[in-house]
Symmetry: C2
Subunit: 222 residues, 2 copies
């Protein structure tokens, strides 16, 4: 499968790119608004993977060019860029393509981080309203610590949650996620359940802030 990571030069994009390239045989495409930046980062990822004995080609280019080549398009950008990023690639999305939204909205005040969703109820639902009707939007990868993903020596052994309205699209994203070693993908239901999934991210950050020795936290349901 061809997986485009829009904003693939950012920290969560880097983590997902390295994990997909390292643990799976999917083709990984790095998108950015700046094609040159994407190409440079893609080469960096290739060097990192090569140093671990994985010879693979990671392609880089504009978000639109990478979306055009992909079956699964992950919108790995901050929540306030989700609209512009989807709009920039919309014409390249074909019937049957799947768009994946991992973003979550957070505010910070003196107490810590707080979930701050857009009026749609969650960033995932907002993204779903922004994609063309011919593609399915699935929420996944919301609560993964970017640094931990990007460090291929760091063990995962954690869960991610998948939300969406189309069972087939969710199944494809679930398989994609579980292609990453020691990542379990759990079905959290429809898009309307995305807010509870996204809310976990500020909780994980707050707990890391307040407990010595805990950082880059994930979680396992049990």
């Amino acid at each position: 499968m061809d997986i485009a990571l829009l904003g693939g030069t950012g920290d969560i994009g880097e983590g997902l790119a390295l994990r997909f390239a390292y643990h799976t045989t999917h083709d990984v495409l790095i998108g950015s608004r700046d094609a040159g930046k994407a190409e440079t980062k893609a080469e960096e990822y290739e060097v990192e993977l090569d140093s671990r004995g994985v010879e693979t080609t990671v392609e880089g280019g504009t978000n639109a060019d990478m979306a055009a080549l992909a079956n699964v398009v992950v919108v790995a950008v901050p929540p306030y860029y989700v609209d512009d990023t989807i709009e920039a690639v919309a014409d390249e999305l074909d019937e049957g393509d799947i768009v994946v939204s991992p973003a979550t909205g957070m505010d910070r005040d003196e107490d810590g981080f707080h979930y701050s969703p857009p009026p749609a109820g969650s960033v995932t639902e907002h993204a779903a309203s922004a994609v063309p009707d011919r593609v399915e939007l699935v929420g996944a990868f919301h609560n993964l610590a970017a640094g931990r993903l990007a460090n291929l020596d760091a063990p995962l052994d954690i869960d991610t949650f998948v939300v969406g309205e189309d069972a087939d699209a969710k199944s494809i994203v679930t398989d994609l996620a579980e292609g990453i070693d020691d990542l379990r993908a759990l079905d959290a239901g429809g898009l309307a359940n995305a807010a509870e999934v996204e809310s976990l991210t500020p909780l994980l950050v707050n707990v890391a802030m307040h407990n010595e020795g805990l950082h880059d936290l994930g979680l396992e349901l049990k």
Copy 2:
């Protein structure tokens, strides 16, 4: 320490009562609006504990009578009873007593369960505004599955989150929680961070609904 479980005849109250009595040496007091119901349940808990070789006295009585005897008062009632329950015991709370709020607000629609906080931002903050100034309110035990707690054969090996404004009170509740075998208490910061903790409960229920073989879920941060 003397721990009163207001609403200790309900399912989360039962789970906490049995776990505190089984794993710790604290005195457990079962409160209810109906003293007779509390006494009957307290006897049931004694029988269950005795069958496991723990000879202990579990006292039962009105919420107010039990709160009067306790240092730590857990408001183990549904969110819409928190106000009335605190009001009914307020005169019995002494300076230095700690009130613990485990309740979380949820709505259900066809998609699943959704976090539905009161205007205060969370049930925990709402409870904090309802207690007299002379006592501290701490949030804890929000995400524990009642049936799993009440089944003393069920392994825990999970986390609970503690929120509050007073470090000493949080420390006492943390020690109390960790007195339960295989329960880890993590500091999630101030009361303003309670919403992200409470939001976990509907997520756990949604995941249990949508994934075969998963039920009575807890979670471990890692």
